[in-house]
Every structure is written in structure tokens, then in C-alpha cells.
Symmetry: D2
């Protein structure tokens, strides 16, 4: 697996350039702020369009699910050199996420030759845990 | 629970007006096309921003997770009169979703006094199943 | 995949003989009662050891998780000729399961060349839904 | 919530006495070996009946799911004084679990007034991670 490895995968500028090739990532405004082997940290600035409920100002669960999937997958990039297709995703919602930058950490739980599992924690601007989850990725795909 | 019921929850025009109060729903362009008690069908037209991988044109898993959460939650609207907070979400990805309108069906599996479970199936324009999943909702919330 | 197929996989007597080679299946007393292509139905008779809470008589969630995994995996047997390793499992608990035979149905949601997804519904003796769920199976494993 | 708290919930002997009131826990032979606030560690000795595949000697996924549910739920006991009904469960299978004592750790991710989330890691006798997962518990139930 590691023949795809490239020192650039621990360099935030390189990771951001690659991450932001994806139109949805650009729309989200997501930025990698930290990367070590097996762990990645991103920030997602607030957008008015994230809101599901205009009275309460809650962020849509789908935005939080996106962030969980994104950091779980990109945790793999720090070890395997690229993202992989998501097989399935689990997201737990802990508190409403209100206006403010989200900060999320993705960590590799276990690398496998066919499937790999990663977990993710999403915090709000005040540092409170708003969502967490895990994803399975098809790491055998060529 | 049913004191919150209102005949309007089976009327697509009324449902769309309520659904589209959410800024993220408007951004998605989602439309309810069918509603019966316990089941809702929506369509989501393509947006260039949905893409995660500009070479392959794949839709981001977070968009599909959003659609799963949305129709699972709005299936509850047809029985309980309003959406409820998502407790947790499971999404399975079956095939890459390429350019084209998504069509998704949400169904109530079980209504409970504290939490309820719904499932969702998302098809692409050719009618192929691209994702499916289920969500738990906090239906006791006042 | 279908070179492993064998007409016996739709014959309950043959399926039971194979299923019951597993010591845990024998302990559970599980029996296949119906099998069609892509769907299997089993019954699990009550055992006093299933109980988690001796005051209330509730069946342990792990027993219900076992039944979900078992019928999801054996739904694959009806199409691919054998069970496959579980990648991950999701189980939703709908009602306490009390003393009485459990009846569970497993269905293939989607067959894939690397992984496949199945779902399961578990009913109690009165026909009430006590648990449901889905599993991902590594169907590429040789 | 903490009015149900009792210093005994951090005492392994007391926890084991309570845990082993459950017939299925006795059958599993599970023992609490460590308990701190928000975290519990148990050991489950091998039983021949755990096997699903008599040729390969693999432990049934349902046994591992049981252990995930059990330690996730009993992590709550160390903070809330008692176990709670499982709402739903996610289990990831990382490696086949062969003959040998299982050691599992359950941790509270987040305590809530209605729902709480816990995670679990299960290791084999050699210290390898064989399964992990998370559960949602209905902590509002009286």
C-alpha cells in the first residue's frame, strides 16, 4: 500500500491543494490545519446555507455527516497517500451545531488490506463535541 | 403524538414550502414528489458542487448522507407532523452516484414514544440504488 | 461468484445441516424455515440463558445482534452459496424481546464484487418487530 | 442523573455481582477487571460454543457484538449507576477472533439527558484489536 505514499501527505498546503480539487470541498471551505501519520484535523468555516432550521439556526445533520466522512477518509490519506471509497458511515449527533467554525479530527482505527476503519470527532467553536462517528473504506480498490 | 397531525403533511405543495424554509434544503434544490402516511419520496436535481472527485464526477458521500437523513426524517413528518432531531445515522454506499437527479424514498420502520427509526433508499436517474441507510430520531422532544 | 452456487442453498434441510455445523448456531438452536433467492427466514427458540435482566426477562441485545448478523449473512448463502465475513453491523432495538420464539428475515439489499449489504428484521412470537438492522459482508474474499 | 450514583459502581466485586445477575452474562463468563469513572474493562474467557466456523475456529460476530454492547452499556454504570436500554449498536470487525480470552474496554463518549453514546474496543489474547464499535443508550428511561 505504501508505494502510493508521498511525503506531501503530511504537508497541509499540499493536502489542501488536493482536497480542494473537489467542488464540494471548495463549497464547504474546508481546510486541513494539522496532519500526522494516521490523524488529520480540519476546519470548516460557517456558511449560512448549512442551516436546516432557520428559527433555531441548527446546522444540517448532512453537513456534519459530510465532515465525519471527510476527515475519516482523509485520515487514510496521511497513511495510504490518497482517499478511498466510503463503504458505510455511522454518525452520532451529540448537540446542535450553531453558527461558528467547526473543527474535526479524523483518526485511523485500523488499516486493512481490503477494508479500513476510521473515526471522527467534530467540535464547535467553543470546543464542544457536536458529532462523532466512524466510516469503513474500501482500501483494496485499485 | 398525533395531536400535531395536520392534513397538510400529505400535501406535496405544503411539505415543500415547509421543507424549503431550511437554507440547506434550498441549496440542495430538494422537492417532495410523493407523500403517504409513513413514506415520502423526494427528488434532488444535480449541482456541480455535489462532486467530490472532478475526474470521475462522483457525488460526495456527504450529499448522499444528507439525502438519507432528510427523507428518513421527513417520513416522520407524514406521521407526526414535523421533523425531529437526528440521534444517529447509518449510510451504506452501493455505487458511485454520477451526474443526474437523485430520487430518494424514506419510510418509517417503527414509531416510538422516545425514539423512532426510519430507513431510506436513494436511486440515481437510471433507477439504480446508489445509497441506503437508516436513522434514529428523538421523537420525544417537545 | 455463482460458480459456488448449488441448488441445495434453497433447501431448508441442507441449509440447516450447514448452519448447524457452527457450535454457536447449535447453542442458539436456530433453524432455517424458509429460503428463496435473496431471502432467508429463521426461527430461534427461547433459552433461559438469553436473558440479560432476570427481573424484567429481557433478551440480551447481543442475542438480537447475533440473529441480525446471522440472517443477513445467510441471505447471501441463498445467492452466493456460502456465508461471508462480516465487515460491520448495525442493529436497532425497537422493543424488549421477552420469552418466546424469535422469527427473523434476512434480505440482500445489494450484491457487490467487493462487499455486499443485507438487512434483517427480527419479530417476537406475537409478530411484533423487536429489532432490525443491516450488515456489510466481504463478498470478495476467496 | 447522579442521584443514582453509588460508590459501588467503581468496585469490581460489586460490579461483577450485579453484572452476573444476568443469565447471559453468566453464560459468557464475563468479568469486570477494571472500572474508573466513564470507563470499564472486562474479560471474557473462551468457550467452545462461541465458534461459528468449526474449521477455522472463528468466534461468531454475535459474540463480539455482545461484548461491544456490554462494555459500552456498563461504561455508563460507572457514571450513572446502572445500565440502560440499547437504542442501536454499530460493530466493526477488524480481524477473526480465535480461541483465547477477549479483553474489552468501554468508554463514555458523551452523556446526555435523553441519549448517551459509548464506544468499545475488543482485543484478543495477543492484544490485537478484533472488533470495535459504539452504542446509543436511552439514558432518559426511568
Amino acid at each position: 500500500m505504501s508505494d502510493k505514499f508521498d511525503a506531501g501527505v503530511l504537508d497541509c498546503a499540499v493536502l489542501n491543494e488536493r482536497l480542494r480539487r473537489g467542488p464540494y470541498h471548495r463549497w464547504l471551505g474546508v481546510q486541513v490545519v494539522q496532519a500526522t501519520t494516521g490523524e488529520i484535523v480540519v476546519e470548516v468555516p460557517w456558511r449560512e446555507e448549512f442551516v436546516v432550521n432557520p428559527d433555531a439556526g441548527y446546522t444540517h445533520g448532512g453537513i456534519l455527516a459530510t465532515v465525519v466522512d471527510l476527515v475519516a477518509d482523509w485520515a487514510l490519506v496521511t497513511q495510504l497517500g490518497r482517499p478511498f471509497p466510503t463503504v458505510d458511515l455511522r454518525v452520532d449527533y451529540h448537540r446542535p451545531a450553531l453558527k461558528g467554525t467547526l473543527r474535526a479530527t479524523g483518526t485511523v482505527i485500523r488499516l486493512g488490506s481490503t477494508f479500513s476503519t476510521c473515526e471522527a470527532y467534530v467540535h464547535d467553536e467553543a470546543g464542544k463535541l457536536v458529532a462523532s462517528g466512524r466510516g469503513t473504506y474500501a482500501t483494496a480498490v485499485k
